[in-house]
């Protein structure tokens, strides 16, 4: 496996794109600031390219457990009032959201 090459420079366009993926709107000032910071941070992360990782499996579950199952039965957990108590907008027991589908003319 070829040695990992240095990460390419991150552009303002990249930052804007990532922000859009993360559903965050950034100001021009923020885009500039994050671009600068990411350059330093990513250049530190480049270090990982030095490590030989051919054939190394990735672990994310460090205590060796897999697929914990339980019986499928319903249980009381929250009342409807409790479940709605933090909703910014609710009506008739539903959480209200802006329209997702456009009305057809």
């Amino acid at each position: 496996m070829k040695k990992d090459s240095k990460t390419k420079k991150i552009t303002k366009k990249d930052v804007k794109h990532i922000a859009s993926l993360a559903r965050i709107k950034l100001t021009e000032k923020e885009i500039k600031k994050f671009q600068k910071e990411f350059e330093a941070i990513l250049s530190h992360f480049d270090k990982l390219g030095e490590v030989k990782t051919e054939g190394v499996t990735e672990i994310s579950q460090v205590t060796g457990i897999t697929n914990i199952m339980r019986e499928d039965f319903a249980k009381e957990f929250l009342t409807q009032a409790h479940a709605l108590q933090n909703a910014p907008k609710s009506k008739d027991g539903y959480i209200q959201v802006p329209s997702v589908l456009k009305k057809s003319e």
Binding site: I18, A19, H44, K47, T63, Q85
Partner: protein, 495 residues
């Protein structure tokens, strides 16, 4: 009339003995904590929310139990605080972020439920870096907490409010969480004892998620004995957290008394670099090693060669995981919701842009980048492979030694504002703590000494998975031999 009692260095056991004998009441005990908050918190700023009425009502019930000679729970009447990332039913829980400024959880986190059922009394929610993102509380959406040993300096983070509260004896212990050092580093900075448990030892249900394969729920207290006692209550399988371990909960307070002679302790040479490390920290930890040697342990040097890659690996894994966990803050079911937008995407973007602070945005963006198409292999996958190598290294080390001894932070507590404008330099403060969470192993941080100017320096004892009993045993005996943990901040001694 709230007044303080002279119980600053009482353990939970001693407090209980005094309660049973009627030396003071639970109400007076709670009033002691509330009086300290009233007197010192304007300077220390440990608390976001103080639950005084609730606490006093619960204290009344405990006093009635004592009068009726009803058996007391193991934490009955003990005032405690909880880091604001824990859901406390109907009590404001902000996570340290403006995103949840108006959030009132409809349920208690499992750890909170357990501790309450054992009789402990919640006195308030402590300040922290938002969702755990930070090492000083300077990223909190509210304010920076201060170190009771020197209020120009940070208490550490992200559980800085908890560390400061326990140090200033506002409450007897604090429930907190550690994803990359967030319990251990503030414990070290505030001269208290804190446990980062094995991954899954304590349920994460109701703890606001940061990095789901790294997060651990633990606590901070005055002594190893107290910390052990609390873990007896909080540990165990929880049906609400599928990653919680099905391992038996040990009798930690009994096991601490076993002998420590002959235990093999490893000092990783990579944890004592010349660059970036304060020589007083290195000396303090080596002196602690000598003390353990005098007590009959065997010290040897070990090597953990992938230590230098731990920060990069950790931050890539952590930011990737948090970018997914932060997606739930969308202005729809809870949390900050911007009212001006007309359609869905606008609602998401505005709510998230206005509700999140800089550090939340920084980390979400990095994680999103690391997972995005074209970068996944170079970043996330690579970081996960390095994680495997770090874990293997620890497993190998534990074949040679029983426990690893290491510094917690490269310096004593730093001044507020030191890392302003340089987020990477703040991340580098975590060099000795982020190595642990990717392995799932437990780490016990405890006071090891002080700098010449009186600033706390802690150390950490690290063990194989589920070896908390071993760490407590060593720590307990160390605290019998030394009294660093008893030193109080001069701020509160000035009475």
């Amino acid at each position: 009339m709230k007044k303080t009692l002279e119980i600053e260095n009482f353990t939970i056991k001693e407090i209980h003995e005094h309660l049973q004998k009627g030396k003071f009441s639970a109400t007076e005990l709670v009033q002691d904590s509330l009086a300290r908050i009233e007197k010192y918190d304007v300077k220390i700023k440990a608390f976001l929310t103080v639950t005084d009425d609730l606490a006093l009502n619960l204290a009344k019930k405990v006093d009635s139990k004592i009068t009726k000679r009803i058996k007391l729970g193991s934490l009955e009447g003990i005032p405690y605080s909880a880091k604001d990332v824990f859901c406390t039913k109907d009590i404001r829980s902000t996570g340290g972020s403006k995103m949840l400024d108006n959030f009132y959880p409809p349920y208690d986190a499992s750890v909170i439920k357990k501790v309450n059922e054992a009789g402990a009394i919640l006195i308030g929610k402590t300040n922290c870096d938002p969702f755990g993102f930070g090492s000083s509380t300077e990223n909190s959406g509210y304010f920076t907490s201060r170190n009771p040993f020197d209020i120009e300096r940070v208490p550490g983070g992200s559980s800085g409010g908890s560390g400061a509260a326990v140090a200033a004896r506002m409450g007897v212990f604090s429930i907190a969480e550690d994803t990359g050092g967030s319990i251990r580093q503030p414990s070290s900075f505030c001269n208290v004892t804190g446990i980062k448990v094995t991954y899954g030892r304590v349920s994460r249900h109701g703890s606001m998620a940061y990095g789901s394969s790294l997060d651990t729920v633990g606590h901070m207290g005055r002594t190893v004995e107290d910390v052990a006692r609390i873990l007896e209550i909080t540990a165990g399988r929880d049906e609400h957290d599928a990653t919680s371990a099905d391992k038996p909960v040990l009798d930690y307070t009994e096991l601490v008394k076993d002998d420590i002679k002959g235990l093999q302790i490893g000092l990783p040479k990579e944890y004592f670099p010349r660059e970036g490390m304060d020589p007083e920290v290195a000396k303090t930890v080596r002196d602690a090693a000598n003390t353990l040697d005098d007590m009959g342990c065997h010290i040897e040097e070990i090597s953990l060669p992938h230590t230098e890659y731990a920060i990069a690996s950790y931050y890539l894994v952590a930011t990737s995981e948090l970018s997914a966990n932060m997606a739930r803050y969308d202005g729809i079911r809870f949390g900050y919701s911007e009212k001006g937008g007309k359609e869905l995407r606008e609602l998401y973007e505005r709510s998230r842009s206005e509700g999140f602070g800089d550090e939340e945005k920084r980390r979400i963006l990095l994680g999103t980048y690391a997972l995005s198409a074209g970068y996944y292999d170079a970043f996330y996958k690579k970081a996960m492979q390095v994680r495997t190598l770090i874990k293997k290294e620890f497993d190998e080390a534990f074949k040679r030694v029983d426990v690893i001894l290491a510094p917690v932070a490269p310096t004593p507590p730093f001044k507020v504002g030191l890392h302003e404008g340089d987020p990477l330099s703040m991340w580098l403060e975590d060099a000795f703590t982020v190595t642990l969470n990717p392995t799932g192993c437990p780490g016990l941080a405890l006071p090891a000494g002080f700098s010449k100017s009186g600033l706390p320096i802690g150390m950490q004892l690290i063990g194989p998975q589920f070896s908390e009993d071993l760490l407590f045993r060593l720590g307990y005996h160390f605290q019998k031999k030394t009294d660093f943990h008893k030193k109080l901040p001069s701020l509160i001694e000035e009475d």
